[in-house]
């Protein structure tokens, strides 16, 4: 590994003893000997298996739930529905005051996506739980679903989630997160060229090799130990405390190595119902997603639609950017209001644009609720804005790397969301990239600096 010490030479201290040296990973010994402990690498006598009965419909009213046959099935210990959950309505981000609560641990009155959890069956063996789950009878009145952002935002669209009362998240700024900087219409009027493109992405599933799950053990001192592969231990502990109306100190969350998270294990999904089941049965409870549940039920990265309009000058300066972005949250908020907010700030990219207008919507549809994944809110925005940069460069006949030098932010530039740029290093990264990728640019770009705007 080579340290390029000519960049920011006066600011750096290259007296490193660890950086630049290979270090063994502390967890590799366990991995290669098969001794790393994942949550499911434990057995407990008397453990029960939880199988979830899920909605077969995208959107439906629940008319009745009949668990009587299922309850009689040999090996069944307990069956849980919404009424068993002390505080059934929740949302993950209520902990940081991003509400309203809009999701149920077990469905009440309505199901809003195909696969939503309705009834939890607890039995002595997995097979008995599967057999009993097949005997649960739920009567539905099927409702019209909206399965795309466009359909969800039509004026007469069926409402997905009554806790919002509209098919988009209502921010304190209104129907979307808004960035207003300068005057985009003036910018467009002055521009030599206008480019408007629409970018779209589908939901993306993390597909970790280890599926989501937890095992909960009731302890002798009245606490519950929850062995889980969640990536969000404190979110899970605090939300479980609220859902179960149980003081947090009675919950003991034990993590360990996660067999692939990628953001797919940050929802508070399996623990509350498993802890409740352990409490009501007095026995250890295992709730582990099958592969099908992991692929279809667990949250994916949100599908997005981004409309990006730019005004650019012949000399390469982007003078105006207007973005309308939609994040498909699916049926419930989870992390999506935050993702759509991050996106709003992100759309100018690492570039200084004097006139910016961003509207970023978090939209509800009757699809699998989406959630975090690898830079959610920002990743797809980057795809859109960087492809747009290439298209803009081509439009004015400029090299795409040189085009980025012209627009790159420098220290002190005001960003559209009104944070001054500090510690910018894009120019230097592109200079080094130009060298190592053998993509030469004009020497005036190799002389540029992030610390001062030339001319």
């Amino acid at each position: 590994m080579k340290l390029a010490k000519t960049y920011f030479a006066d600011e750096r201290n290259d007296d490193f003893s660890e950086i630049g040296q290979p270090l063994p990973r502390t967890d590799l010994r366990g991995h290669v000997t098969g001794r790393t402990v994942y949550f499911a690498d434990r057995t407990f006598p008397g453990m029960l298996y939880l199988k979830m009965v899920r909605s077969p419909h995208h959107h439906a009213r629940i008319l009745s739930i009949d668990t009587s046959e299922a309850e009689k099935h040999p090996g069944v210990v307990r069956i849980l529905t919404a009424k068993d959950v002390p505080q059934n309505l929740y949302t993950i981000l209520i902990l940081i005051q991003v509400g309203p609560e809009d999701e149920h641990v077990l469905a009440e009155d309505k199901v809003r996506w195909k696969g939503e959890a309705v009834v939890a069956v607890l039995a002595e063996t997995e097979r008995a739980a599967q057999e009993a789950a097949a005997k649960v009878k739920v009567e539905y009145e099927v409702l019209e679903p909206v399965l795309s952002i466009e359909d969800a935002l039509k004026p007469d669209a069926p409402i997905v989630n009554e806790h919002h009362g509209r098919n988009y998240y209502l921010y304190d700024s209104g129907e979307c997160r808004k960035i207003r900087f300068g005057d985009v219409e003036e910018g467009f009027a002055a521009a030599d060229h206008i480019l408007e493109e629409t970018y779209q992405s589908s939901p993306i599933e993390h597909a970790p090799v280890e599926t989501t799950g937890c095992i909960v053990v009731p302890e002798a001192n009245g606490r519950f130990t929850c062995y889980t592969n969640t990536q969000a231990m404190f979110f899970t502990l605090d939300n479980a405390s609220i859902i179960l109306q149980m003081p947090g100190h009675r919950l003991h969350m034990v993590g360990g190595t996660v067999g692939g998270g990628f953001g797919g294990k940050v929802d508070v999904i399996v623990e509350p119902i498993a802890i409740l089941a352990a409490k009501l049965t007095g026995r250890p409870v295992s709730f582990i997603y099958t592969r099908e549940e992991e692929m279809q039920i667990s949250s994916p990265r949100a599908a997005e639609k981004i409309v990006m309009k730019d005004g650019v000058m012949r000399d390469g300066r982007i003078v105006a950017r207007k973005v309308t972005a939609y994040v498909d949250a699916g049926a419930y908020s989870r992390h999506s209001p935050y993702g759509a907010q991050k996106a709003a700030a992100h759309f100018p990219g690492p570039y200084t644009i004097p006139n910016v207008w961003i509207d970023s919507y978090c939209v509800y549809t009757n699809r699998t609720p989406s959630s975090a994944m690898r830079g959610f809110g920002v990743t797809i925005a980057d795809f859109a804005l960087e492809v747009q940069m290439d298209k803009l460069a081509r439009l004015i006949g400029m090299d795409p790397l040189e085009f980025r030098f012209i627009n790159a932010y420098r220290d002190g530039d005001m960003k559209a969301h009104r944070q001054p740029t500090e510690g910018a290093a894009l120019i230097e990264c592109m200079q080094e990239a130009s060298i190592v990728a053998d993509w030469p640019v004009d020497e005036r770009f190799m002389a540029m600096s992030s610390r001062v705007r030339e001319g």
């Binding site: 063994p24 000997t33 098969g34 499911a40 063996t125 090799v209």
Partner: protein, 159 residues
Amino acid sequence: MAKIAVQFTLNGSERAEFVESGSTLLSVLRDKMGDTSPKAGCRQGSCGACSVIVDGELTLACLTLAETSNGKDVRTAAGLSSGDVLHPLQRAFEEEFAAQCGFCTPGMIMAATVLLERNPNPSREDVIEAISGNICRCTGYEPIIRAVLAAARSNSVAA
């Protein structure tokens, strides 16, 4: 529910348990015999995380009914090292950073073990074919391929 006897050699030791009829080899190894090195990733034969070696053949424990292993020789990743001494494959995986979350690692190592037992000098294509039944979502496979090739080289140097 009827219990049945299951008896086989596990990593060189005779093991016997009474288990639920119809149990898979995977659940017997993990829940009854205390060997959690094979993992349940899909239970449909797609991911390879449950790979073990039965009578010298790479086998998916999730699709094997435990009783069909009676009398056989079963090896798992946990049985590869002896005490503190790592198998060359294990050492190579460490040196090449061939694991991140580690969940696919036991299965990968089993697949590589069978490969090197049959083909001590595999090509890159041989390695790819050998691990083609094992999914990794973290490393992008290159460090794993490098590790298997490095283990093969170190074996031939030692020999």
